[in-house]
């Protein structure tokens, strides 16, 4: 199985799905001639031409809404946001139109669309460019939300998202774009949405995470194993909505101790809901209160010294884990 980067995995998923279905197009700022701000779409313009790989002006409300209208008509547009932070100027098109049209039409109209792009901090770009809106999207019935954390998941889940008949928000991570991993080459390599993944098995403590926090959790698991002889199970949610509640409860029942890690801000973050579900369904299985590590609750800081502390880093996650064991 070839080892490729997360970026290349996304590129393969796009290429395969555009080749597979004539209704699939990729549009966004700088996706074609510039080859993508983060080079995710490199080579696609040459391969598929400007009718499939479409450069848009800096005009998120228009091209997001255009894509929703096209999806209502049966196309399957993939909209790239240079940063998910920029979706805020297209909020109405995503959160009102894409999410609600099916319901408001009594199921007459489908919106098979993908909104994708990076949603993360940790790159010293300041508060406006570092939003992690997976909680906003997951709070909106009608939308699906996924946060792949490995190259294989990036490919398999993006392909599933493009084939999905409902709107799917794919939240990537600029820091993960260079992460390498084994990725199957088959065209039918599709990872169904809503299936969590055990990133490493363990028995003393469960760390439940999504997105890049999974990678941080794995590092902490290694430290705990090597230095403290603690066996940590890391559960990668992969998909926020739909959510694999069974997998969550399974790991909770196995280790009886839970640490939730996410880059979301804490108040009304994704893990607030996960914690609620765990106490509702597995209260008697807990040997300790559920703990959380999120981004520290201030606008994203610019300075490296501040931001590296603000996002869930190895040391903050380790310290919180130690409180549980």
């Amino acid at each position: 199985m070839p080892e490729i980067t997360y970026r290349e995995a996304l590129n393969q998923a796009l290429a395969e799905e555009i080749a597979r279905d004539p209704n699939v197009v990729l549009m966004g700022e700088e996706v074609a001639q510039f080859k993508g701000s983060y080079k995710v779409s490199e080579g696609l313009l040459e391969k598929f031409g400007p009718s499939k790989i479409i450069d848009t002006p800096i005009s998120e409300a228009a091209f997001s809404g255009l894509a929703v209208g096209a999806a209502m008509m049966g196309m399957r547009p993939v909209v790239e946001f240079m940063f998910w932070s920029f979706c805020y100027v297209a909020f109405d098109q995503i959160f009102n139109n894409a999410a609600n049209v099916r319901y408001m039409s009594g199921g007459l109209i489908n919106v098979p669309i993908v909104f994708r792009g990076p949603a993360n901090g940790g790159t010293n770009v300041g508060a406006t460019h570092s939003h992690t809106p997976e909680n906003f999207a997951a709070n909106t019935p009608g939308l699906k939300v996924i946060c792949p954390s490995t190259p294989a998941d990036a490919k398999g889940m993006l392909k599933a998202a493009i084939r999905d008949n409902d709107p799917v928000c794919v939240m990537e991570n600029t820091i993960l774009y260079n992460l390498k991993g084994d990725v199957p080459e088959e065209d039918d390599f599709v990872i169904p949405l809503g299936k969590a993944r055990i990133a490493c098995e363990g028995s003393d403590l469960s760390i439940i995470a999504h997105g890049r926090s999974v990678q941080v959790a794995l590092q902490v698991a290694e430290t705990l194993s090597e230095k403290h002889n603690v066996s940590v199970e890391v559960l990668d949610l992969r998909s926020i909505r739909p959510l694999d509640l069974d997998a969550i409860l399974q790991t909770v029942r196995k280790t009886n101790r839970v640490l939730l890690v996410e880059e979301n801000k804490p108040f009304c973050g994704v893990d607030a809901q996960i914690a609620y579900l765990i106490q509702e369904h597995a209260f008697d299985d807990l040997d300790a209160p559920i703990k959380r590590v999120s981004a520290i609750d201030v606008p994203q800081a610019y300075s490296k010294a501040l931001e590296n502390f603000q996002i869930p880093n190895h040391d903050r996650v380790l310290a919180k884990a130690m409180e549980l064991i």
Partner: protein
């Protein structure tokens, strides 16, 4: 797709086809709309049908207003009364490849495209026999089988959607256009300008129809918009624009037909401002006493009522008699009354239907590809 690497050449910007002010559209002295080919070819039967369509919309809405006052309808009810010639005229020149999308004042467009009064009235009542099974309401009627894509509640929010419909048509090689209706208030929303830019840049067959009824809710045009006419705002994007009288069905038909011809020929977008007037408040909850005078309303009703004007034309053309007109009116009233009875007799949706129609996937469990939890309220969840 053509135009993606388009470099705008402004040296050949077309002359605007009208320079009228929107407060007082020019009389178009050189234009005799009744002699426009699209009107010359109108058969008597079709003229009577158009008259009847306008009557049906008006009587439907009057009946819905009574239902609202009787407590059958909740929320908002934005009435189209006074503007009927715009929807009926525009829809009447559409081909089967043309599509419609509009804002929240959508009952007139819905009936004009052929939705029946029963499904519309039942939707207003929140009944399961409504066009959206009671899940959309007054502002959110849809009939994709009739090329009608809503019914959208957020001012200006439908303008990029109309662009997307036009994009899909062009992408699929269909020689159709999207008529995207909007109000004068929507011309001040940013997405409209973003959409005009893309419509022109990518040459998309979208026709923005500004139904200028003079008021953005309770704010008169002179207090909400700088520069006039509103349609002129298309000029800076090199988009064809013109201003028309909305009380004249023939003029509306001619204007839309010309715009459709441009769209069909080379996918050109257009902005048409159609000056019209609404007799009722912004919504039923609007007391309509603070921002305009009763005299203003009466003046318009007396001189420019689109239904009366068209009736007079048909009478003078000898195509129908006063008795015919009264019979059509009675028939429209009866149909509206029957739709109210239908809505009253219809069942409300069951609470078990609350979670249907959110995701395609949960409505089609035999094709479900994902697993996991999609809903998070435990008393009803999967």
């Amino acid at each position: 797709m053509e135009g993606i690497y388009h470099d705008a050449d402004l040296s050949e910007a077309p002359e605007p086809s009208s320079v009228a002010t929107s407060a007082d559209p020019s009389p178009h002295v050189n234009q005799n709309y009744i002699n426009h080919p699209i009107n010359l070819e109108l058969e008597a039967e079709e003229k009577i049908r158009l008259y009847s369509q306008m009557l049906r919309i008006r009587r439907f809405e009057e009946r819905s207003l009574r239902a609202y006052q009787q407590g059958h309808i909740g929320g908002f009810l934005h009435l189209y009364i006074g503007q009927e010639a715009v929807a009926v005229g525009a829809v009447s020149v559409m081909s089967e490849d043309d599509h419609v999308i509009t804002a929240y004042r959508d009952h007139g467009h819905a009936i004009a495209v052929g939705m029946d009064m029963d499904e519309c009235m039942a939707e207003l009542f929140g009944k399961r026999t409504g066009c959206s099974k009671g899940k959309g309401g007054s502002m959110h009627f849809f009939a994709p089988d009739k090329n009608f894509w809503g019914g959208h509640g957020i001012v200006g929010g439908q303008t990029p959607l109309g662009l997307g419909i036009a994009y899909a048509l062009k992408n699929k090689g269909v020689r159709g256009a999207c008529l995207c209706f909007m109000g004068d208030g929507a011309t001040n929303q940013g997405p409209f300008y973003e959409s005009l830019n893309l419509a022109s840049l990518w040459k998309l067959p979208v026709i923005y129809i500004i139904e200028n009824n003079g008021y953005s809710m309770g704010t008169a045009e002179s207090r909400h918009s700088a520069g006039e006419p509103l349609a002129r705002r298309g000029d800076c994007f090199d988009v064809n624009w013109s201003v028309h009288h909305g009380h004249d069905l023939y003029e509306v038909r001619a204007a839309i037909e010309d715009a459709l011809a441009r769209a069909r020929t080379d996918c050109s977008p257009s902005v048409l401002e159609i000056v019209t007037y609404r007799y009722r408040g912004h919504s039923v909850a609007d007391p309509d006493q603070t921002y305009r005078s009763k005299e203003e309303i009466e003046e318009y009703k007396k001189n420019k009522d689109p239904i009366n004007l068209f009736r007079d034309k048909l009478l003078s053309e000898g195509l129908m008699t006063e008795e015919d007109s009264k019979a059509l009116d009675q028939s429209a009233k009866d149909e509206a009354e029957a739709s109210a009875e239908f809505a009253i007799a219809s069942p409300f949706p069951e609470t078990s239907e609350l979670m249907d129609d959110v995701y395609w996937e949960t409505d089609n469990p035999e094709h479900k590809t994902s697993s996991g939890k999609l809903f998070f309220e435990s008393s009803l969840s999967d």
